[in-house]
């Protein structure tokens, strides 16, 4: 009888707390979804440099994404069969001038998966932006991959034209040093984060994989990616 009482008590208290927490979760789920959508939209606006998200209202950010970014197309990597979502950014809502393409990248960082987007110019020769949207790297070290100093070289334009055989698209370099012209690293290097070499190496690895996949998929497309 005592055992039955204990079981009934446990079931009752678990149901009570479970219901309370579930109710709270359900009551906030819409807000959380809106927050996540807004984070994603802000990331895309920053990725393509379509505005200053700190100065724009939520509505304006949503409007820019809806009108100036086409997210309807996909590419297929012929080597792996992987489908790559293709983002097309235009300079105005009229969509008459395409400025850049974007595609996602992901991979395992030092602690867990890192996800983000990389943007390239319309000629597919240079990067125009990088945005990390999900990461749990070491705060203050690897987590600095989201900071302006890290993404700036990508916004300034790293060369992603087809490299020499056996060479990479993108290289991790040392802060303050520039590769010599003529070397495979020239124009393709971003600065490693001091104290977060493993995160930097992981970024180099996943970005190279993503760019290679994208280029194969783009080259495979009969009439180019447009």
């Amino acid at each position: 009888m005592k055992r039955v009482k204990i079981v009934v008590f446990m079931v009752a208290i678990a149901a009570l707390y479970g219901a309370g927490v579930t109710g709270l979760h359900l009551s906030t789920i819409k807000t959380v979804e809106q927050n996540n959508r807004l984070i994603e939209q802000k990331a895309l606006v920053e990725l393509f440099g379509l505005g200053d998200v700190k100065m724009l209202s939520k509505e304006k950010i949503g409007q820019i994404v809806a009108t100036q970014i086409d997210q309807t197309e996909t590419l297929t990597d012929p080597q792996t069969g992987k489908t790559i979502p293709l983002l097309k950014a235009y300079d105005s809502a009229a969509r008459d001038h395409l400025t850049a393409y974007g595609f996602p990248f992901s991979g395992i960082g030092f602690w867990a998966e890192i996800k983000g987007y990389i943007a390239v110019d319309a000629s597919l020769q240079k990067t125009v932006g990088l945005k990390v949207i999900e990461q749990v790297e070491t705060p203050g070290l690897g987590a600095r991959i989201e900071e302006p100093f890290f993404v700036k070289p990508f916004a300034n334009g790293l060369d992603i034209s087809t490299p020499a055989p056996g060479k990479s698209y993108i290289y991790m370099g040392t802060a303050g040093s520039t590769p010599d012209p003529g070397t495979p690293q020239y124009g393709r290097t971003f600065d490693a984060i001091t104290g977060a070499t493993q995160t930097s190496l992981a970024m180099e690895r996943m970005l190279n994989a993503a760019v290679a996949e994208f280029r194969r998929a783009a080259d495979n497309r009969e009439a180019g990616v447009q």
Binding site: M10, N35, G140, L141
Partner: protein, 208 residues
């Protein structure tokens, strides 16, 4: 009788220093090491812990005569987990950018020994009001130590406080990368524990 002579007052004040959960009871060490390389993350973690410790103590105390002895720890974990999830849901809904940074750490509050320790050692034997104060005291005592560690780690490791660069940083500051890595947390925790214990023992006349 003054506040500090009441059961709740003694519990609140004692947890801040004489019975500090971190350097006197050696509880909550994992998160003291994990979240203290940035002061902002530390403050949010401390806020979550004070909330959870206070309310879980209060709830456990209210239910102490109802909870069967054989399953009391299971019930305590259930109560603690529920409050931690409430903290997580609140931060996720109201502060999504901050949740991105400290989300992985919030779940760790469930396993924080301070909360379980205070619920079992104090709240399960004492009335609700003193238990609430005991939880607040334990949370604040923990926060005090973490904030001291975080101030030193962030200042020495990044040359910032709350992300704001310290004055004339370019002149005097040299980055101690080790301070933002786990070994830096061990060094700082040991120093704080050494200082705290020495001071308490000296005050009590127990120092040899």
């Amino acid at each position: 009788m003054s506040f500090k002579d009441t059961l709740g007052g003694r519990a609140l004040i004692g947890n801040l220093w004489r019975d500090n959960p971190v350097f006197r009871q050696v509880l909550g060490i994992c998160s003291a090491l994990a979240v203290t390389n940035l002061l902002k993350n530390t403050l949010l973690m401390c806020g979550g812990l004070v909330f959870t410790a206070a309310l879980s103590n209060f709830t456990v105390s209210l239910l102490r005569k109802t909870i069967p002895k054989q399953v009391r720890m299971m019930v305590q974990v259930l109560i603690i987990a529920a409050y931690v999830i409430i903290v997580d849901i609140f931060i996720r809904a109201q502060f999504p950018e901050i949740h991105k940074t400290i989300g992985p750490y919030v779940g760790l509050i469930i396993t924080n020994c301070i909360i379980m320790g205070r619920a079992e050692a104090f709240a399960s034997k004492n009335p609700a009001w003193p238990s609430l104060l005991d939880g607040i005291g334990a949370g604040l005592g923990y926060s005090m130590v973490l904030i001291v560690i975080a101030v030193f780690r962030e200042a020495l490791g990044f040359g910032t406080l709350m992300g704001i660069p310290l004055p004339a940083r370019d002149i005097w500051w040299y980055q101690w990368t080790i301070m933002v890595m786990p070994p830096g947390a061990f060094f700082m925790l040991a120093l704080v524990a050494w200082f705290g214990n020495s001071y308490v023992l000296k005050k009590e006349g127990g120092a040899k």
